[in-house]
Symmetry: C2
Subunit: 150 residues, 2 copies
DNA sequence: AGATTCAAGTTGTACTATACAACCAAGCCG
DNA sequence: CGGCTTGGTTGTATAGTACAACTTGAATCT
């Protein structure tokens, strides 16, 4: 069956990609690992949030986030502000330096992706993007939704 | 420009995927990491090869492969046979157990992917698969080939 | 109010994947 | 033969991660 073959290919290619991505991202941007980049990006988008939120959002252990945050703070890329309403909470914010590095790495990553995708017809880019969104949006809980038209 | 937006989306989604993949693969199949799985798969496809070939193919350091191979051998999933023509070389082969585990994990992964991709029209599956192949096939040396019709 | 439970973070510990460098051992070549 | 090359291992170091134990502050339930 051809559909099965396509699933197989998707599986193989996604796996291959996953295997390579982290390492190559690290080589491209030694100053900001993929994880740090992601966390910084979230802080920018969200305009500041708690370590716990990051952990929940990215399915990471709170200890992992704690250490990442500590490293980012040490590097002066983020700062912690204790929430006056709840002294357990530290709200994380990008510093100016953090914003700068983030922008720089984003730009450099964008360039790499643009280069890699150069020559793709716009229609293909848009379809590929849509497929990826759809693929990533899947979660066990949402399984079956589409089939039932929700 | 819409094409740029699509590139941005691809970037973001690929990144998100990469971040999650390894960990989730590990959770799904504690008995065989993504790397081990990949190496075993290569041995099956190739019908036996050298550690150096694996390293080259997956852009891993030979020391990394050496240790992976050692672990897989310890687990009795592969075996080494010294090449009679060149005593430096160890040709790696799957054992029966290795073949069994590989098949089992492949099946389980396939199921997960099938579930995730359930409800996708066959046409979309095929297009997505083709896009991924194209995306992964890219390498710095090949850049520009398409534009020049090679 | 006091005791208990809950939530946010930190720290200790351990493991995996990885790289780089130094090394060894076997072939190969002039 | 002697030196270079190639395949592989080992020592060492780092990043990212998890889990468990702990601290501290908040909330809740008598």
């Amino acid at each position: 069956m051809e559909a099965d073959e396509a699933v197989e290919t998707i599986q193989r290619e996604m796996t291959a990609f996953a295997r390579r991505a982290r390492a190559s991202a690290g080589r491209m941007h030694p100053e900001l690992s993929l994880v740090s980049y992601t966390l910084l990006g979230h802080l920018e988008e969200s305009g500041g949030c708690r370590a716990t939120d990051l952990a929940a959002h990215y399915a990471l252990d709170k200890s992992t986030v704690s250490r990442q945050v500590a490293a980012l703070e040490r590097a002066r890329l983020i700062e912690r502000r204790v929430d006056p309403d709840d002294h357990r909470v530290q709200v994380l914010h990008l510093t100016a330096a953090g914003r700068r590095i983030l922008a720089q790495v984003t730009e450099s990553r964008r360039t790499a992706f643009r280069e890699r995708l150069a020559g793709w017809p716009r229609e293909d880019l848009e379809r590929f993007a849509a497929y990826l969104v759809r693929y990533n949006a899947w979660s066990p809980e949402s399984a079956g939704d589409e089939a039932e038209g929700r």
